[in-house]
């Protein structure tokens, strides 16, 4: 029988799993918007970590929570800009399939 206690380790494992799922999506999806979504998953995994640390390591200083607020802020901005870029690309190529984009190659 499990000892029914939830500590830092459990949260971190959960965070790692969520991060891994997000990473897998980022690396293996064709659709640019899907990649953007998966990046959101990864950012949320990070937020779990931050809040867990906030609770279990430095509960009174709110560093983790404030950092998480910034992460959410930046994530929102990133989604906005990212979507704008995807739309701009789509307008040029009529596609959002990342396999068709090899512009990083000279």
């Amino acid at each position: 029988m499990l000892t029914l206690s939830v500590g830092l380790t459990q949260y971190m494992v959960l965070s790692a799993i969520l991060f891994g799922i997000g990473l897998f999506g980022v690396l293996s999806k064709k659709n640019a918007i899907a990649v953007l979504i998966c990046i959101e998953l990864m950012l949320n995994a990070v937020n779990i970590n931050l809040l867990a640390f906030n609770k279990f390591v430095t509960p009174t200083q709110f560093i983790g929570q404030i950092f998480a607020i910034f992460v959410i802020t930046v994530a929102a901005a990133e989604v906005g800009v990212g979507l704008a870029i995807i739309i701009a690309i789509y307008r040029n190529k009529l596609s959002v399939n990342l396999d068709e984009f090899d512009w990083l190659k000279w």
Binding site: L4, S5, V6, L8, T9, Q10, M12, V13, L14, A16, L18, F19, I21, G22, L23, F24, G25, L27, S28, K29, K30, N31, I33, A34, I37, C38, L41, N44, N47, L51, A52, N54, K55, F56, V57, T58, P59, T60, F62, I66, A68, I69, F70, I72, V74, A75, A76, A77, E78, G80, V81, L83, A84, I87, A88, Y90, R91, V96, L98, D99
Partner: protein, 170 residues
């Protein structure tokens, strides 16, 4: 209270929802479905944040992610995707390798998380989180706060310029 049975049950339940919905986000072939499950994931995450004594963050999570981000992504899809929505979210050729790397990441980070001995404190998180966060944000962290505000403004302007229709005469 923290280690009450309800707390533990809430954690595992929420964790299960989060993981399952995240997997569905990745593995569903219809991008719209993915976004829907993303919203589910975000809401579950908000619940998880509550178990972490971060009620303000939970509210923000629902507002920003489940609300704003998901809606924005759906708008993006609406602008872009045409035709058969059933094949809008496929895997590319390096999926296998990516799975390997991810497995390694999981193994390493899971092992490290479990093996590390964390020096924690037993002190509880103060109840009035919003007040504390507000005080800190407007005093100690006021400069990052303003920079974040500026970032949002820049992102707003940038997104508008990037997404704006290019005039034909240009």
């Amino acid at each position: 209270m923290d280690n009450s049975i309800w707390m533990v049950a809430a954690f595992y339940l929420l964790s299960a929802v989060i993981i399952v919905s995240a997997l569905l986000v990745v593995f569903l072939k219809n991008i719209v479905h993915s976004v829907l499950w993303l919203a589910v994931c975000f809401i579950a995450l908000a619940g998880l944040f509550l178990t972490l004594d971060a009620d303000f963050l939970a509210a923000v999570q629902v507002l920003v992610y489940a609300g704003a981000v998901c809606i924005m992504v759906v708008f993006g899809i609406m602008l872009i995707q045409r035709g058969d929505m059933g094949k809008t979210n496929l895997f590319n050729s390096q999926t296998g390798v990516a799975a390997g790397v991810v497995a390694l990441v999981l193994v390493v980070s899971g092992y490290l998380s479990a093996a590390t001995h964390w020096v924690g404190t037993a002190a509880p998180v103060p109840h009035k989180t919003v007040e504390h966060i507000a005080t800190l944000l407007l005093s100690k962290y006021v400069i990052p706060f303003e920079v974040a505000a500026l970032l949002l403004l820049v992102a707003l302007v940038g997104a508008i310029i990037l997404a704006k229709e290019v005039k034909a005469k240009c």
